[in-house]
């Protein structure tokens, strides 16, 4: 590992607050300073169907979306903006398309900076086109495209490189559908971590070569899949307690990016990031209320508690009464952030933080475990087992289960409690030794369609 986190970045959870980090980062034009005492909005625009038919159409779509975002900032007085382009398939698979889009966006941002002094930065989130059951994770055309596109966007205006890696997805999907916590620990904690440890040094190298920032990774393909399956109070696709335990593994796994040289800003849909911030002190991007345009969640306010960037996840470009959807969501984010920064200016940031915690801590177990106090404890469990991907994942799961079961205000239905207890028993029965765990899993999960151990270096 490039870096080993053997201690927490903070002495206590109460030191953690939105807008401030132990290891701030500066990016883009201005520059945009992250974690230095104020929060920054992050808009993620998404092109419409039909706009991807030709490069010219797509360029025009991105030109309009970027101009809308920057223009709304100036119209309303927002001091800074981070724009993230989450690549659609056509961008990552065609590095020259991606390069042209980023070059164009950067030029627009430069114009606004020159004319108005609007600080801005641009994130390139390359699509991980490697589906583990369809291509080999370490050698495929898809991987070649990805690496070329990291380079082409880095050379053409991106300030940050990020990704949502797919390692372990095949085993995880099989396991989550069957409420198999061992498979979840293997898929997320071991396989995804190993894939990240292999891929991230290459991303960091490309970032360094171009003097830009290696941002972060998210357990979207696994942790968020579990969260979305769990849904709200009326859904019956996955117990919420099980999704929370999967999230605990997500934290253990996402840490690998920062061990391999990523510095943040972290990836917005990594809900595990309060745990990451507690361990690493890197600036974290979170999404909550303003990401309702992309998906629903049960922790929209609490996730702002220690956020350094505030994102909308992704909004498709459409007309709305208040302007384009990109203008509207830039405005929503900008005002959310202005409120947070105003509370900092008034010395009331901890009050606002605690208000947002109170909103969601006991609404659902996902918000409960991501509450900064609980995130800190889960982070400690990870750090105490830092030497093993399996060990830290197992420890994170057990600590999360202990915290949920131990707080009487965190009400659970009988079904949810049974699911939690069952998972906890199963994890407690797992071997202590990582080698023994891996041997068992390699044998038992070889039945999972498309699982190829060699793709993870076994």
């Amino acid at each position: 590992m490039a870096k080993k986190y053997t201690s927490m970045a903070y002495n206590s959870w109460d030191e953690m607050i939105f807008g401030t980090t132990k290891n701030p980062v500066s990016i883009g034009l201005g520059p945009v300073e992250l974690g230095k005492g104020w929060v920054v909005p992050q808009i993620v625009p998404h092109p419409r169907p039909g706009s991807t038919d030709t490069k010219e159409k797509l360029l025009r779509e991105y030109q309009r979306m970027t101009d809308d975002a920057l223009g709304r900032c100036v119209a309303l007085g927002f001091p800074a903006l981070v724009i993230e382009f989450e690549h659609i398939y056509q961008m990552t698979s065609q590095p020259d398309w991606a390069a042209a889009i980023f070059k164009q966006a950067k030029a627009q941002m430069q114009d606004y900076y020159d004319k108005y002094g609007l600080k801005s930065a641009l994130i390139s989130t390359v699509a991980d086109l490697r589906k583990p059951d369809m291509v080999h994770m370490r050698k495929s055309q898809e991987l070649t495209w990805m690496l070329e596109t990291f380079a082409s966007t880095a050379e053409n205006g991106a300030d940050v490189l990020s990704i949502e890696t797919m390692g372990g997805k095949e085993v995880f999907d099989w396991a989550v559908q069957r409420q198999d916590i061992r498979g979840v620990i293997f898929g997320i904690g071991v396989l995804s971590s190993r894939d990240m440890a292999w891929l991230w040094p290459q991303i960091v190298e490309t970032a360094k070569k171009n003097n830009i920032t290696p941002g972060g990774d998210t357990d979207c393909a696994r942790g968020n899949t579990a969260m979305f399956l769990a849904g709200g109070y009326t859904a019956t696709d996955l117990p919420h307690t099980f999704a929370a335990l999967a999230r605990a593994c997500s934290a253990a796994r996402s840490l690998v990016a920062y061990e391999q040289g990523a510095t943040g800003p972290t990836k917005d849909c990594a809900y595990e990031d309060p745990i990451i911030k507690a361990i690493t002190g890197v600036p974290i991007t979170m999404e909550g209320v303003a990401s309702a345009c992309a998906h629903s969640e049960m922790q929209s306010n609490i996730v702002s508690a220690v956020a350094d960037l505030w994102s909308n996840e992704a909004v498709e470009y459409h007309d709305m009464f208040g302007g384009s959807s990109v203008e509207v969501f830039t405005e929503i984010l900008g005002y959310n952030v202005a409120q947070m920064n105003a509370s900092i200016a008034l010395g009331q940031e901890k009050v606002l933080r605690d208000i947002n915690i109170a909103s969601d801590k006991y609404r659902d177990v996902h918000g409960f475990m991501l509450s900064p106090d609980n995130s800190y404890e889960i982070g400690k469990a990870i750090v105490e087992n830092i030497d093993s991907y399996y060990g830290r994942s197992k420890a994170a799961v057990l600590k999360t289960a202990e915290l949920i079961a131990g707080d009487s205000k965190m009400q659970l239905t009988e079904f949810e409690r049974d699911a939690l207890d069952k998972a906890r028993r199963e994890v407690e029965a797992l071997p202590d030794s990582e080698d023994e765990f891996i041997d068992q899993c390699l044998s038992d999960y070889k039945k999972v369609a498309g699982f190829d151990p060699s793709a993870y270096g076994f």
């Binding site: 169907p49 559908q177 696709d237 006991y362």
Partner: protein, 254 residues
């Protein structure tokens, strides 16, 4: 002085735990057979216990026709569906049950010397350029466990391959899932290609960003917003219901 969260015990104006208020009574499944061994098969399916299903399928095949055993497996799965509909079971329990059923089904089909008669054939895929397939996989497991032949084309499937598969398999139903609006545009192309070939196979479309408005904007399209609708839709299509009638039934529009 602001209160700390530890001092707050009443959250009723912040959130309402509708799940706790509506918590479902645990209950078991009903018996489907008076025969002890056949009932054990059904119980194995309900419990998602592959070992119990396998052991009792082997026993049952000594004295019963394979078709009788298959009927029992499916009856067990019907009980599972009821438990899911009533909120007693969640999706993972249903998937485990379908896994257990498939173990027994394979044994019974071996004994028959061929595949059991299927209720119909469903071709399934994830849109061209899209690799988000967990919804499709869940639907495929449910449809398969309910007695249909599933031709799963996988993810990122070119449009012409979907049309060819529907034709080659004489499918009663075709499904497509897409997470993103930029990939769901493939569905309209598939529907157009099918119509040009004179095909009227109902085309069920669903997924994260897919909307009923979009799916009902082209002929053949019927919108599904949940994987569990797949079984009823496959049943309707296999019994000859047209895409137009399916659209009226499931989407209330024509």
């Amino acid at each position: 002085m602001p209160k700390s969260l530890n001092e707050v015990s009443d959250f009723s104006n912040i959130f309402t735990r509708y799940d706790i208020g509506a918590a479902v009574q645990k209950r078991g499944a009903e018996d489907v057979s008076t025969d002890k061994v056949l009932q054990a098969i059904a119980t194995g399916v309900v419990d998602g216990d592959e070992d119990v299903v396998l052991e009792n399928t082997n026993k049952a095949l000594e004295n019963n026709e394979p078709t009788k055993v298959i009927d029992t497996l499916i009856a067990g799965m019907r009980e599972v569906s009821k438990l899911w509909d009533d909120g007693v079971y969640y999706l993972p329990q249903v998937i485990l049950s379908s896994d257990a059923l498939m173990v027994g089904l394979e044994k019974a089909e071996d004994a028959m010397g061929g595949k059991a008669q299927k209720k119909g054939t469903v071709v399934m895929h994830c849109a061209h350029g899209d690799i988000h397939d967990i919804g499709k996989n869940i639907a495929a497991a449910l449809i398969r466990a309910n007695g249909f032949k599933v031709v799963d084309l996988g993810s990122d499937v070119p449009e012409d391959e979907v049309v060819k598969a529907v034709k080659d398999n004489n499918a009663n139903l075709v499904t497509g899932t897409a997470l993103m609006t930029t990939t769901m545009s493939a569905f309209a192309k598939i529907a157009k290609m099918m119509k040009e070939e004179g095909m009227n196979t109902p085309f069920i479309c669903g997924g994260g960003a897919v909307s009923e408005e979009y799916v009902t904007s082209f002929d053949l399209g019927v919108y599904a917003d949940q994987a569990k609708q797949g079984v009823d839709m496959a049943t309707d299509a296999s019994s000859g219901m047209s895409w137009e009638d399916m659209r009226i039934k499931y989407n209330l529009v024509m």
